[in-house]
Amino acid sequence: MNIPEDRRYTASHEWAKPEGNLIVVGISDFAQDSLGDVVFVELPEVGREVEAGEAVAVVESVKTASDIYAPVAGTVVEVNEALADEPELVNGDPYNAGWLFKIEPADASAYEKLLDAAGYAKVVEEES
């Protein structure tokens, strides 16, 4: 299972990666693999203020529909418009082209409290 070390993770299988003063959010390789073929992604509205752990997006696959939680509190500033036509990007390239949304964090240090790659690898191990 691919777990890049250049970012952090949540126990609910989101990844978060700093980009300037923003945090880019997506779902892990493990998450996309468990979901199966993604057929629809519902993204939050730009400008929405979110709490950490709040359900902000939905990824729907042929098997299931799954809530995506904000890893940190802040404001949604951009969403991945490409997913409207190509939701399969979440399966094919979960860590790059398949990103979901960007958050301007309320507290810049919140990112540091997320799981690092090794910590997340343990979560995955327990679940699989």
Partner: protein
């Protein structure tokens, strides 16, 4: 798109016909109907002879797996046998018309009235509407009742949230959301039941309702239901009962007695009316007295010896369905209830529970995992042995002549296979099913290539589920030209 079985329109040949209707007398149609209502071009109906029609639909039906031909343990759907006597009863009413004067349809109204009464008694509710056309439609009706109830008490603005357990059927959050509510998910505990502490923590003055099914979608009875409902009622929260699983408890326990305020039933599940690619369905809603004034119009009322349609309900949420709902389905359900009687319904639930528990034990013996291994109600969740996927087991079952179980639902169990045998299956059928499940597990583990490409003997093989979800073709269109 290439298909190996044409639609009936593609069998059409200009001028071909099955019957010759009499020519209408020369009348001034434009004068009678208004010129703007006359067609200029004939409708595009298929032109086919009778034998073509018979063969077309007979052959289509032979490409199906249905409860009349195969064991169909599709969890949460209660695919019980649909007794033929129901059809005989429904056939008596084919000439009834909804615009008929109710005075000339007293028998039909009597059936509706009595069915309302029976369903109220079975669920422990005070009043019932038969209008909704399916379970999910009933859910929407019920949630709208709750909304206008809160509004009538001046709490409409305050109560914006509906709580739904994480094991819920997707139609619960969907209907809550359609009724204008925000949905908040409540986690299940390790025993598969709603986590009472988490639910207590989620309760508050902003909560309008909780939607639950009991037994829940894991087939488990919520043992803390009374405490849970008390805690919710204390905060002014309404309790919605999703009656999809009523087949587990008919005659043994009533949602009304548990404290629920509103329920929907799926006549097409519990009360043996056809569904699954057919239907139509029917999702009556029962309400306690405080919600009854809001029920859709019309309901059927008895006045002395007469039955009347009651439109005089000033607080009604309005109509949920044209005319009176799916009447022919009501006749079938009514017949089912009358044929079984109170004792029979009770026994049906007991047998449904017995069959489910028997299968649960037997499947565990042949290697399937049972994540919540305790007495279940009418259904249970199994998982394939390590190394197999629920989807592959489901596809392999088709080759053996079985309808697959529900898979990947409820969402909280990985590789879930939700199995509901119903009461109408014999021990022999269940034993043969267990043998086949054992063989699929054995063969699938020995030969992963084999199971990955099942089914081999069905009219169509593996379907492209991604394309079906992303670009569904729901309607045939003639090629232009």
């Amino acid at each position: 798109m290439k298909r190996d079985f044409p639609v009936i329109f593609e069998r059409s040949r200009s001028g071909r016909r099955g019957t010759r209707p009499p020519r209408p007398p020369e009348v001034d149609l434009a004068g009678l109907l208004g010129a703007e209502n006359l067609r200029s071009a004939p409708p595009r109906l298929p032109e086919v002879d009778e034998l073509t029609v018979v063969r077309h639909y007979t052959n289509l039906s032979r490409r199906q797996v249905g409860v009349d031909t195969n064991f169909y343990p599709l969890g949460s759907c209660t695919m019980k046998y649909n007794p033929r006597v129901n059809e005989a009863a429904a056939a008596l009413f084919t000439e009834l018309h909804p615009y008929q004067d109710p005075e000339t349809a007293q028998g039909a109204l009597q059936i509706m009235y009595e069915l309302q009464e029976y369903l109220a008694e079975i669920t422990g509710m005070d009043a019932v509407t038969l209008q909704p056309a399916a379970g999910a439609h009933g859910e929407l009706t019920g949630m709208l009742l709750i909304r206008v109830y809160h509004e009538s008490r001046g709490e409409g603005e305050q109560r914006r949230v509906v709580l739904v357990p994480d094991s819920a059927h997707g139609s619960n959050p969907a209907t809550a959301s359609m009724a204008g509510y925000q949905v908040r998910e409540v986690p299940s505990g390790p025993d598969g039941e709603v986590d009472l502490d988490a639910l207590r923590a989620a309760l508050g003055p902003e909560v309008a309702a909780i939607m639950l099914t009991n037994p829940n979608t894991l087939g488990l009875f919520e043992r803390k239901i009374l405490e849970l409902i008390d805690a919710a009622h204390y905060q002014g929260v309404q309790l919605y009962y999703d009656g999809a699983n009523l087949n587990a408890i008919m005659g043994w326990a009533r949602p009304g007695d548990m404290g629920f305020d509103v329920v929907h039933l799926n006549l097409h599940k519990t009360f043996s009316t056809p569904h699954g690619g057919g239907g139509p369905g029917s999702g009556p809603v029962g309400a306690k007295a405080h919600l009854a004034p809001f029920l859709p119009v019309p309901t059927v009322k008895r006045e002395g010896e007469r039955y009347v349609l009651d439109f005089d309900r000033p607080q009604t949420i309005g109509r949920m369905r044209s005319f009176y709902g799916n009447f022919a389905v009501m006749v079938r359900a009514y017949t089912y209830i009358r044929m079984l009687g109170a004792e029979g319904l009770k026994k049906a639930s007991a047998m449904a529970v017995l069959n489910a528990n028997y299968l649960r034990k037997k499947l565990a013996e042949v290697g399937y995992k049972i994540p919540y291994d305790r007495l279940c109600k009418h259904e249970f969740i199994a998982q394939p042995p390590e190394g197999l996927k629920a989807l592959d087991v489901a596809k392999a079952l088709l080759d053996y002549g079985y309808h697959p179980p529900t898979v990947y639902f409820p969402l909280i169990v990985k590789e879930a296979m939700m199995i509901e045998p119903t009461e109408t299956e014999s021990k022999e059928t269940l034993d043969e099913y267990v043998e086949v499940m054992a063989e699929i597990a054995r063969r699938g583990l020995e030969d992963p290539e084999w199971i990955a490409h099942t089914p081999y003997h069905t009219p169509v093989r593996r379907l492209d589920e991604v394309a079906a979800n992303r670009k569904p073709v729901l309607r045939w269109r003639p090629e232009e030209g």
